[in-house]
Symmetry: none
Subunit: 208 residues, 4 copies
DNA sequence: TATGAATGAGGCTTCATTCAT
DNA sequence: CATGAATGAAGCCTCATTCAT
């Protein structure tokens, strides 16, 4: 009976996802340039050469990480907006609450910090992320605000500005948390802050 | 009698600052790892070797950039808070307006993006920046909010949370602007947003 | 009753030859080091792993290519010389004409270029090729020349030298053709040149 | 008194030539792909990094080797042809003798073997070499032959063919010498062969 | 003080080879 | 037999750092 484990296993289907997950972690932690493919490979449980079976080079791996990680997140929220019946305030809360939870739980949201750091080094990818994530999220919230205004539920504020007021705080807090988690124990809890933020927003937005 | 010092001497005194300025620009644009000292030197108008006359190595140069760039920005605001007579709303506005202007004009504020990216690679520096900039700013705003609450001008909100609500949006917008300036022409104007943000905040904070 | 063996079995027997043919083409085109086994496999219609069922490693494959490709070519010519009755000039022409045709048609003759490039990296193989092809060909032509001298048909030239005069031009033109076929459309036709070459030779060799 | 030798010296002017010489030797010996830049550097007395101060990459180094090494050789011969007074036979001999000497002495002539091996991997360089060396040499000899025909000194042969008859043998012998020097001690002496070759040619060419 | 040629460690990438399937 | 996923050594190349000038 041979008990020595095989030197490796064939796991063609599982590999790309495992590699992308490992790469996400290291890119987020170190940045693109400082992340070493050796470490990515080690974390994914393969060797460096294996990476090149699935990705052409470091840059393509990076792009894959962004693309694979980013996309699926917004669809649920978009459906929520499309289907909502009821007050815009409630809808806003539903969106914020859901987003805060995803920010807290899903590792994919850490890509924001990464893109902030690397967008200028990868303009094409920056455009992709901006369009597919940033602008798409904004459009979502903008629609809710506009709907609230049209319904007389909100004041006639500048929608573009209001959209930033809604989205920027949660985003920023997530980014701070990640960046300074090594040294800052004082950061606020995201879902809790979402509630606080929501109440501030409603007072700022509601019609007098 | 010519009393102006010879040109090279003036430059000699100016060198460290010039190098730091160049390094700031490149670190912000590329990140620490991807910024090449050759390019820093070129931008500073010197050669690579010269950098090592003033800074021990790349990491020390990075630390110097952060330390030199970060410090002087908050003192004025702290004085403003200490000396203010009048409503807390006015004080809040004065702070936000001044900050928005500095974010727009002073290159030193671009360090935020850099620290977001590099804090986990340089924990010591992360702590320094967190303490000297992030927490110090928060304390400033926290004090104003607390003062407003004590004076009955503001509602009795959670001060820690409210502080984030005040600071995060401007910060985030500055960071987005920088990161996506290559591809996004739609970003809002900072001082204008500061005004909008202030009005939202006041509605959220003021006592009923 | 179908007596033709199933297709895969025929292929199994044919495999080594197919691989060698593919390898010859790629080694000649790229050189030993720059030829990739992946491409050899692809051209042979198998996968990389299969190569190792038939050849121990790249170097052994290379040796097999040289050995298998080189051998059968001279026998016919040797018989021709052994059996010839008639003038040595006629024999010389028969040899040159036959050689020119083989150079033009048989892929195996492209090995010359390969050996020129790789002999110093594979001295053992160089010796093999030198002995089995170069020297053996020379002996053939040397014998004809010597026979012509002995018969009073040719001048009493230095046989070693004359042998080079006979063999080098065709060889060189074949090699040039191959090496510069990508960029040179001006190269002469081999059989035509063989005729020209023969007439030059005869004038150079014949007794006054 | 410090007797330890300096770790390195600044020799900006001498470096490129030294590197090219070292690279020539290694490329000729191993071929382009099999030659290691580490070895080139070692032979040139520098380190790998230094190569990149003078040449962009391995391919550019290769091109530089070909360009720098090959070109100066033909100019002398071209002058000889332009200035010659006397019989074309004498001129032909002068050219062949000079060429044989260069082939024997100048390391630059070993480029031919290299180009034969690599032309198909570097088509652009192949074209360059073909045009600047091969065709240019041929033009030289073609002119002499044509002149001899026009003067009634030579038969009215096909000039293109005759040119190959003149040039190919010396070239081929040089190439064989290099490729099989490790294993063949029987190769003829180049200047001696040039004389032999000349006498064969003259008999082949001269008018009856 | 300033230069920039030279270094050498370390990363990315390729590819001959192995081996689980 | 055949496959092709996985390996790992080795090569190219970059760039922070050093040091002769």
């Amino acid at each position: 009976m041979d008990l020595t484990p095989p030197r490796w296993q064939r796991r063609k289907d599982a590999r790309p996802a495992e590699i992308i997950e490992a790469a996400l972690a290291l890119f987020v932690e170190k940045g693109f340039a400082a992340a070493r493919l050796d470490d990515v490979a080690k974390r994914a449980g393969v060797t460096k050469g294996t990476l090149y079976l699935y990705f052409e080079n470091k840059e393509e791996l990076f792009k894959a990480v962004v693309r694979e990680t980013v996309l699926p997140n917004l669809e649920f929220a978009e459906l929520l907006v499309a289907d909502h019946r009821g007050s815009c305030a409630d809808l806003l809360w539903a969106l914020l609450e859901g987003w805060a939870q995803r920010l807290q739980q899903s590792p994919s949201t850490s890509i924001s910090k990464l893109m902030i750091a690397e967008a200028s080094n990868f303009p094409e990818l920056g455009r992709f992320y901006l369009e597919e994530v940033v602008l798409r999220s904004r459009r979502l919230f903008a629609e809710v605000i506009q709907r609230g205004i049209d319904a007389g539920e909100f004041r006639a504020v500048d929608v573009a500005m209001a959209t930033r007021s809604v989205t920027a705080p949660l985003m920023m807090i997530k980014v701070w948390k990640q960046s300074f988690e090594c040294c800052d124990s004082s950061e606020v809890d995201l879902p809790e802050f979402a509630r606080f933020h929501y109440e501030m927003l409603i007072r700022g937005l509601r019609a007098d």
